[in-house]
């Protein structure tokens, strides 16, 4: 299978702090990958590098055969890549519909119009449909800043789903969700097209192991181990460095 995302020997240093110390990752089309590890392991930093929010100190990122190591994040949506952030980062002053609309407009490069066109209205309608997909149809015209925490996470997800990406990076999508909401989230993630490549950072083992085909365990900026959920769960190493400290998360 062709690989969609290739991360080779990536290191990231923030001043003296080495957040990533040589990560190699090869992700195949349609793969479901979970990245787990204790706080500060470098998981979000790895996502930031793949998504172009930060450039690696050394190493390379190739997406769909194109070298994206130093390409800024704004070129990622047109490559079919979308991400969510660990802290929901929807625009608090705009409505749910407008937030999703921005995701669509950014992806299509249609955002300099000073007037409303018909294409524009179509995108607004489409935004409402996407909101319904993540169970926000009742909140389409609510201001994002006034949503409950769980709903904000749903909106965060909607903004990634909206553009129908084929590579999606979700940073702790289940954090702060109730048990029922987690269940719905897993159902949603499982309902995605088989061709969709999904990378998920997740502290909730249950969620991570249910959606993933492969699990990568990180600690201190390095990959500790990787394998199927069963292999990882059985790995004594993982128990010591991660599952043992789960209470912290």
């Amino acid at each position: 299978m062709a690989s969609v995302v290739q991360v080779s020997a990536v290191t990231v240093a923030f001043g003296g702090l080495r957040a990533l110390r040589g990560i190699d990752l090869d992700i195949a089309r349609g793969e479901r990958l979970a990245v787990i590890g204790p706080n500060g392991a470098g998981k979000t930093t790895l996502f930031n590098v793949i998504a172009g929010d930060i450039a690696p100190t050394t190493g390379a990122v190739v997406i769909k055969g194109q070298d994206c190591t130093y390409r800024p994040s704004r070129h990622r949506p047109r490559l079919g890549l979308a991400r969510t952030y660990q802290k929901a980062r929807a625009f608090a002053g705009l409505t749910v519909r407008e937030n999703i609309y921005l995701a669509l407009a950014g992806h299509r490069g249609r955002h300099r119009a000073l007037w409303r066109s018909s294409a524009d209205r179509a995108m607004r309608d489409e935004a409402a449909e996407v909101a319904a997909q993540v169970w926000l149809s009742g909140q389409v015209d609510a201001v994002a800043g006034e949503l409950a925490h769980g709903q904000r996470r749903q909106l965060e997800l909607a903004m990634a789903v909206a553009t129908r990406p084929d590579v999606m990076l979700l940073d702790e999508p289940a954090s702060g969700l109730s048990r029922g909401e987690r269940e719905r989230l897993v159902e949603l993630l499982e309902s995605f097209d088989e061709q969709l490549t999904l990378l998920v950072i997740e502290h909730d083992m249950d969620v991570a192991f249910r959606i993933a085909q492969r699990v990568v365990v990180m600690a201190d900026g390095e990959q500790v181990t990787a394998g199927t959920p069963e292999q990882v769960r059985a790995d004594p190493h993982v128990h010591r460095i991660y599952l043992g400290t789960e209470a912290v998360a």
Binding site: S73, R74, R76, R112
Partner: protein, 341 residues
């Protein structure tokens, strides 16, 4: 629902106000219309561009008066001929208008593009530097500014009688106000607010953040240029001192008096400023307590201070508080709340 009611009430009040302004020439003295109100509309229009950039783009610009001045100088250079100061190109007045707006818009785009990677205090400082450099360019290149300013600038025949200039100011102000307000819900305006609140997020959604900022700055520069044209037609002259650091700050102060996050406030602030400068000398006793013309800026300073202490959101904020006991949930507040986690 409540929000909608309040908006329509606000729209009604504003529509009534515009109606009064339309009828004003037959209600008030020529001096009040042609001096006080025309000046208010011109300064308000220019200050509104500061509010637009600040409120929707999160950029507090000190370069708006420069744009205003560039348009004025370029018109003067292009429109005058023979014997006058400046370049004396002697073009048709409307060709001169086109030329002035073209130069202003291009300058705004270039300056906006350079400033587009900075935000907050750095953006403020950089635009202040623009203002200072712009002042020196016009002060020192006397071929385009004088020497000693460009005088005897005539307005196009269409705007001959002073009251027409008043109406031009009113028309452009209303259009700018409605346009800026409507832009909030357009793709451009939504993206601009996104850029203001979270540029990193906007980039990852596929937006060219720097370009978007530069375009907003260009739009604001264009509108400030229109105000600058009205200004030279009203004044009949322009000199480098009129775009020096003092007037630059005064334009910012006008925006602050009205409320830097309120579009209406730009014109309200301009009105207060012009009133103080026009009528303070006529008040009884002001001479007695030592407030001479040279000290009017001190009075303005005290007024600004008082307003800032009473209400950081300026006069508009005070008006809002007087209207409702509890502070209304104003769209502005929500938009500004966008940066709150």
């Amino acid at each position: 629902m409540k929000l909608r009611e309040r908006l329509t009430a606000r729209t009604l009040v504003l529509a009534g106000l515009v109606l009064i302004l339309v009828l004003l020439p037959s209600l008030a003295t020529a001096f009040f219309v042609n001096f006080v109100m025309t000046q208010t509309l011109i300064l308000g229009l220019a200050a509104a561009t500061i509010v637009f950039l600040s409120r929707y783009g999160g950029m507090t610009s000190l370069a708006q008066l420069l744009m205003f001045g560039i348009a004025g100088f370029m018109f003067g250079n292009a429109a005058l001929d023979g014997g006058a100061r400046g370049l004396n190109l002697g073009w048709h007045p409307w060709a001169a208008v086109g030329f002035a707006m073209l130069v202003t818009t291009l300058a705004a785009f270039v300056l906006g593009a350079i400033a587009s990677r900075t935000t907050g205090i750095y953006f403020l400082m950089l635009t202040l530097v623009y203002g200072v450099i712009g002042y020196f360019v016009f002060a020192q290149i006397v071929e385009i500014s004088g020497p000693g300013g460009i005088t005897s600038i005539q307005r196009p025949d269409l705007l001959g009688p002073p009251v027409r200039l008043y109406y031009a100011g009113l028309l452009l102000s209303v259009l700018a106000y409605l346009g800026f307000r409507a832009s909030r819900r357009t793709a451009f305006g939504l993206a601009l607010q996104g850029v203001r609140d979270d540029p990193v997020r906007m980039a990852s959604l596929g937006f060219n953040v720097a370009l978007h900022r530069a375009l907003a700055f260009t739009l604001a520069g264009f509108v400030a240029g229109l105000a600058g044209l009205l200004n030279v037609w009203w004044n009949g002259q322009i000199d480098p001192a009129s775009i020096s650091i003092g007037p630059t700050l005064i334009l910012l102060i006008i925006a602050v008096i009205g409320g830097i996050s309120s579009l209406e406030g730009a014109w309200l602030g301009a009105f207060v400023y012009v009133l103080v400068f026009t009528y303070l000398r006529d008040l009884p006793l002001v001479d007695g307590i030592g407030i001479t013309e040279a000290r009017f800026n001190t009075v303005i300073g005290v007024i600004v201070l008082a307003i800032m202490v009473l209400s950081p959101e300026g006069l508009t904020g005070i008006v809002q508080r007087l209207r409702g006991g509890a502070r209304p949930v104003h769209p502005t507040e929500k938009e500004l709340g966008g940066t709150r986690p």
